[in-house]
Symmetry: C2
């Protein structure tokens, strides 16, 4: 029997409604008891874009994206992760400390009720306090990590999971638990410099995209090399090279964005691979998780810097939400 | 006799009209043969805000800010520095290489003529090519450096001149010549992160400004300490601490901007003091040049990081322009 859901009906196999509920988007997954995704929907009702403010807005957004699934299966358990559990969310699920695994998340879930008094369980975020440095936090990625470990069980014993993005996360795993992690604002710094600084003004779109792929790759590699050669504090100096390399004709204007990207990704990798935190093992196998274009770019950068990733995965949030639900005793697993 | 000019008349002592002509502003100085400023004016006709495009716009802006000085003294020599000499300026005065001193600038000045066919001499910018790294450029600061060395001749033999700002410059001097320099985008990165990133959204204005000076200083120092402890590539990670320190209540929201400021200034200082370029002597005495509030902040940071500056100066552009004019043989010096 095909478990793919016909949107018009409710498959007998449905066992979970799982929500990845962020700041600007809401994704819903209908899953079976084995962890397979039967149906998937994406909406714009992130916690900052609700149809109305307050709990009623959250209930309305939930009904809009998954109401028919819940009508067809009124007993389906409901779980969520992401900013919906922040202080600005539906209900705060306070950060829990490291080491933590999916059982820790389940033990600290926060409960809210939907319009039909069905409980929705929200996963907490993680807090990590490295010795002698500022604390770090994640919210949403802890569930993606649980999903990644479910999909790559061989790496659960010892790994470093890299989730590139607006705020990239590097999480070190021992025996299935997150022991340490670090956030890098790589994507956001790239976006604000490109959108709002002098550097962005110098960047040009390529006239013939296909003819300049080699320029882009060379510029990206030059950024990585600058990062590899950097000393403490050098980044804001090396950023200015985006201007001087353009000004002196060494990097064409259509490839300056790639230099900036290589420089920022390179700095992230150089730092994360040698952060000196004993709870973050420098030589753990690397597992890249995220959108394919971005993980490809990071894989290229890691290879260039001498540390090829052991594996790459796409979005692992649904598998993580399923594991979270299973750990909370909400579904009877098929295995 | 008081050499301060009566704006209605022209003092017999006037010997030079000097212009500091940047992207968004134009400053004019009427100076005597001894290098003293007789009168000073500031206008908004930066090279991006001319009354009309092209050379006519430059001539019109010059006439608007200094026309009466030139009417009263038609033979006064005219000099300028800054973006007016860039490729986007009135006429390009191409960058000259290091080492360079004020005589080098004079030898490579570019000439344009005003509406009355009077020559205006524009100082070139400087280009520095460090071994094995991207080139660096300055345009305008080379004249401020000449002014600083004129005001602090004891430092001309060997010094490091620090000009904090949007794009901070660190310039190393030997025997009056700039031998090496480095740009840091500290001010611009601070502004774009504060204005356009998640970090800026977390910052709050203090309810009682006088009550929170201690918070601000502690946060600034915490940023400096993070910079001192940093390893290569750490900046985009440490930036995120602006968020986590606020989230965990360790730094109040009204002091988060000071943490960010301390972190970025600290990274600049840590890098500049140990850049490893043999043409930039790490232990040269430091001379801070710029707006008083900013040089005070840098002096505090330098002290905290163990390298108190030898001296601080305000805007040295007029003295630098005077030295440039003298080196070009345009004025008969009073000495």
């Amino acid at each position: 029997m095909d478990t793919r859901m016909n949107e018009a009906g409710s498959p007998a196999a449905a066992a979970l409604v799982a929500l990845d509920w962020g700041t600007s988007s809401l994704r819903a997954f209908l899953m079976d008891a084995g962890g397979a995704v039967l149906a998937e929907r994406a909406g714009t009702h992130g916690i900052r874009h609700l149809p109305q403010p307050g709990p009623a807005g959250f209930r309305q957004a939930l009904a809009a994206i998954a109401g028919d699934w819940l009508d067809a299966g009124p007993g389906l358990p409901l779980v969520a992760c992401g900013m919906v559990g922040s202080a600005q969310g539906w209900r705060e699920a306070p950060y829990v400390g490291c080491p933590a695994d999916v059982a820790t998340l389940a033990a600290h879930a926060a409960r809210v009720d939907d319009a039909a008094q069905r409980p929705l369980w929200i996963a907490p975020g993680l807090l990590y306090e490295p010795p002698g440095a500022a604390p770090d936090v994640m919210r949403g990625e802890e569930v993606q990590i649980a999903g990644a470990l479910a999909l790559q069980p061989a790496l659960a014993r010892r790994a470093c999971i890299v989730l590139p993005g607006t705020h990239s996360k590097w999480a070190w795993i021992e025996h299935g638990r997150v022991t340490a992690f670090r956030t890098y604002m790589t994507g956001e710094v790239y976006a604000v410099l490109r959108g709002h600084s002098l550097l962005g003004q110098l960047m040009a779109a390529p006239a013939q995209p296909e003819a300049v792929a080699a320029d882009a790759e060379a510029a990206f590699d030059a950024g990585l090399e600058a990062a590899r050669a950097s000393r403490p504090g050098d980044l804001t100096h090396q950023l200015f090279a985006t201007r001087t390399l353009g000004l002196t004709g060494r990097v064409p204007a259509h490839a300056l964005a790639d230099y900036l990207s290589g420089l920022l990704i390179g700095h992230e990798i150089v730092s994360a691979l040698a952060q000196g935190d004993p709870a973050a093992q420098e030589d753990a196998p690397l597992l890249l998780v995220g959108e394919a274009g971005l993980t490809r770019r990071y894989a290229q950068a890691l290879q260039r810097l001498g540390r090829a990733p052991a594996a790459e995965l796409g979005n692992t949030a649904p598998q993580g939400l399923w594991r979270f639900a299973a750990a909370a005793g909400l579904i009877h697993t098929a295995t």
